[in-house]
């Protein structure tokens, strides 16, 4: 039983922590400053553990990583002005990937608002288009209801970031705190839509009459917790499953019906399968341009069923035949008893043929040229860590795509990556959040040398918090994905993509993190093992092939079946000449 608090007078700052605690939060990520100081002062009365970050962007990514690893709301705290604006990138990242976070920012005193006071920024105005909702709180008596609403809005329906900006005087002054009376009042908010009976019937009709169906499995499966339902559905109906980047883990990689990742760097056969399908079942995905390619030629012969919680996603990019708007898990529960078991071996055989020469082109099958490829590192990391409770947190770029291709994820929430916004610098702080949320899990950061340097200051947070997070830097001395685009589309004009890097191993040591450098394939597994055995954080600087390329690739705006393929023989690179 929760203690009864009706009638108790507390400061706004005290109410803030009391409410956050009652929402089930144990850890928050933040950085103090003038306008949020009353809240920091009140932390001494709270059981909440505050993790001091090195930059407020890190706090938001940590809250995001925490949310993605656990499914719970992550909390980030910052002061007004620059503290709040530093959160913008992390908030936008959480927005595009539907991640539930609550950001608390201090604001100048309510009497000073609008006066361009020291460290005043209109952060609710700034974050208006990148939050699911935001609040400006100017009185202590508004704190409790606002925090309750913020948590409720962040995690219900299609989750997303909510920012609560609290003026300094609202933190300092007192109000009567009554948890029960501060119930959310959201008269216009409808997170719980469900389809009509007629729509279910139309969907079943399409499913039963389809010869070449494919399930497109997205992030919504993981958010809704519908992994088992999707599996039951696919198995009963005999329908193969293609995954989006954020859908990885929603369906086991080893499952015979799993095709792999679709889209720009998806496997060739997966994209061909989608193009030849007669029915697409989109489960909690939003037909992002990175998965559809040219919309005019996308799956031209397929009917489309879209199961999606956000009605604004229906017909946004791809026109669908049957929309089922609602929580995926509930919708599948309704559908499942009516799904007939159909033998689709002909279609599955056809997909097998589409796989064709893909295995030969796989980088794992290329002869050993003495070079270390990122794919080798990631594949070896997978071999070593596959059996445990492992979370891989990636940054953005080539290594992210190789991770998606060469690390086989069997479980939901085992891959955390910035998909929609593609935020470089996401991995390291998000991994910290993931480790805090699931301390028993083994957490690996897989990060490029470019993105690592955007938020590497959080190495200090890892050390200060004594977190066992392992870091694999995939160091190719380039902003690799941009270089790849320059190679393909800008006549190899490598403008501003070569990087002059510090010695990352020395850098890690400077932070007190055990660090090593690996440049040979034979050293990958020993280094991974050494990292796992060490009881503190470890950084491994993998110096990989500089001008390697992610294949296959659908050029931006090209049709999904028009892929640039890996040349079947190894390409000798400049380093060989």
């Amino acid at each position: 039983m929760k203690p009864k608090t009706a009638g108790k007078t507390m400061t706004g700052a005290g109410i803030l922590w009391e409410c956050i605690e009652r929402e089930g939060v144990k850890d928050v990520f933040g950085y103090p400053g003038g306008a949020i100081l009353p809240a920091y002062d009140a932390l001494k009365h709270s059981k909440i553990h505050h993790i001091l970050v090195r930059h407020e962007q890190g706090a938001t990514h940590m809250a995001d990583g925490y949310a993605r690893a656990s499914g719970k709301v992550g909390v980030a705290v910052a002061t007004s002005g620059p503290g709040a604006t530093n959160m913008v990138t992390g908030i936008a990242t959480a927005m595009l990937d539907s991640s539930p976070i609550v950001c608390i920012t201090g604001q100048v005193g309510s009497k000073l608002i609008g006066s361009d006071a020291f460290q005043e920024t209109d952060i609710t105005g700034v974050t208006l288009p990148i939050t699911k909702h935001n609040y400006l709180v100017t009185h202590a008596n508004e704190v409790a209801r606002t925090i309750r609403e913020a948590f409720y809005v962040a995690k219900s329906g299609r989750p997303g970031p909510v920012l609560v900006d609290i003026t300094k005087d609202a933190q300092q002054t007192s109000a009567e705190f009554d948890w029960d009376a501060a119930k959310p009042q959201l008269p216009g908010y409808r997170p719980d839509l469900s389809p009509e009976q007629k729509e279910y019937e139309q969907a079943l009709d399409l499913i039963h009459n389809s010869k070449r169906p494919v399930i497109l499995a997205g992030h919504g499966i993981i958010i809704s917790g519908a992994m088992q339902e999707v599996r039951d559905f696919a198995e009963r109906a005999g329908i193969p499953v293609a995954l989006t980047l954020l859908g990885i883990g929603a369906f086991p990689a080893a499952h015979p019906l799993n095709l792999g990742m679709m889209g720009m760097h998806g496997e060739a056969w997966v994209n061909h399968t989608i193009q030849e399908a007669d029915l697409l079942l989109a489960f909690g995905m939003r037909f992002d341009d990175r998965v559809t390619g040219n919309l005019k030629t996308y799956a031209p012969n397929a009917k489309k069923i879209h199961i999606e919680i956000d009605p604004a996603e229906i017909n946004k990019n791809v026109k669908v035949d049957v929309p089922l708007v609602g929580d995926l898990r509930e919708v599948l529960h309704q559908l499942l008893p009516h799904v007939e078991s159909i033998d689709r071996s002909e279609w599955l055989d056809c997909i097998d043929k589409l796989k064709g020469d893909s295995a030969v082109r796989d980088i794992q099958n290329l002869p050993d040229s003495g070079h270390l490829y990122a794919a080798h590192v990631i594949n070896d990391l997978w071999r070593e860590t596959r059996d445990g409770d492992t979370i891989i947190v990636t940054d953005v770029g080539q290594h992210q795509m190789w991770e998606a291709q060469y690390y086989k994820h069997e479980k939901a929430r085992s891959l955390i990556t910035s998909g929609g916004l593609g935020t470089m610098g996401f991995a390291l702080p998000a991994a910290i959040g993931a480790k805090v949320a699931r301390p028993e899990a083994e957490v690996w950061v897989v990060v490029g040398d470019g993105g690592f340097q955007m938020t590497l200051c959080e190495l200090a947070t890892i050390v200060q918090e004594k977190l066992k997070v392992n870091i694999a830097i995939i160091n190719n001395g380039f902003l690799g994905m941009v270089r790849q685009w320059q190679e393909f589309f800008y006549e190899r004009n490598y403008a501003a993509t070569p990087l002059l890097n510090p010695d990352f191993a020395k850098l890690g040591e400077a932070y007190g993190i055990r660090s090593m450098t690996v440049s040979e394939r034979s050293q990958v597994i020993p280094s991974v093992r050494a990292a796992r055995e060490h009881d503190g954080p470890v950084l491994i600087n993998f110096k990989v092939e500089q001008e390697d390329t992610v294949y296959p690739m659908v050029a931006a705006g090209a049709s999904l079946h028009e892929m640039i393929r890996r040349p079947s023989k190894i390409v000798e690179t400049a380093a060989d000449e």
Partner: protein, 182 residues
């Protein structure tokens, strides 16, 4: 085509910005937006017109609903409805022109609300094309200044959109829905 939306929103600071910002960031252009009080003090009513095809209009509606402060959205473009715009037009009216201007105003059932030595101010209420019509015939005399409210709209007959229907009952949130299990 031009779409007309009736939108009930919570009467709270910043809600107008949220609505306007939504149109901007989804790349729709607001043609006209009016907002005012309703019979319920906690609810405001907006009439928004914007150029959109049928699919876009549906997406505008869905996106408006994503705003937490939006209570109800109705696209009344294809409904029988009454649409009104109000304009005040200050026309140059010299001694000789004055009677002509007055005559035109009366043809359009407009009212003269201010008379000065060399100008007349005419108030007219009606559908947008009626106002456009008056404006057209007044132009040769010299329109000195004009202000229009933008349109307000309401469905005809017993199809009623009241703020009471816009407010859903209090959210019934189960305790375990709000508090995460620790």
């Amino acid at each position: 085509m031009m779409n007309t939306f009736v939108v009930y929103v919570e009467n709270k600071p910043g809600v107008l910005t949220r609505v306007a910002s939504l149109f901007r960031r989804r790349a729709f252009n607001i043609d006209s937006l009016t907002v005012g009080r309703t019979e319920k003090p906690e609810v405001s009513r907006m009439t928004i017109t914007a150029e959109a095809d049928q699919d876009q209009a549906r997406r505008i509606e869905a996106n408006l609903y994503k705003l937490v402060n939006v209570l109800l959205v109705e696209n009344i473009t294809h409904e029988p409805s009454i649409v009104r715009d109000l304009a005040m037009i200050k026309v140059a009216a010299t001694h000789e022109a004055r009677s002509h201007v007055l005559e035109l105003a009366s043809v359009f059932r407009a009212r003269v609300v201010d008379v000065a030595a060399d100008s007349l101010t005419i108030e007219i209420t009606g559908a947008e094309d009626k106002i456009d019509g008056l404006l057209e015939v007044l132009r040769p005399y010299g329109v000195l200044e004009m202000v229009r409210t933008g349109i307000v709209a309401m469905r005809r007959g017993k199809n009623t959109i009241s703020p009471a229907t816009a407010i859903h009952g209090e959210l019934d949130i189960a305790e375990d829905d709000v508090s995460q299990s620790v």
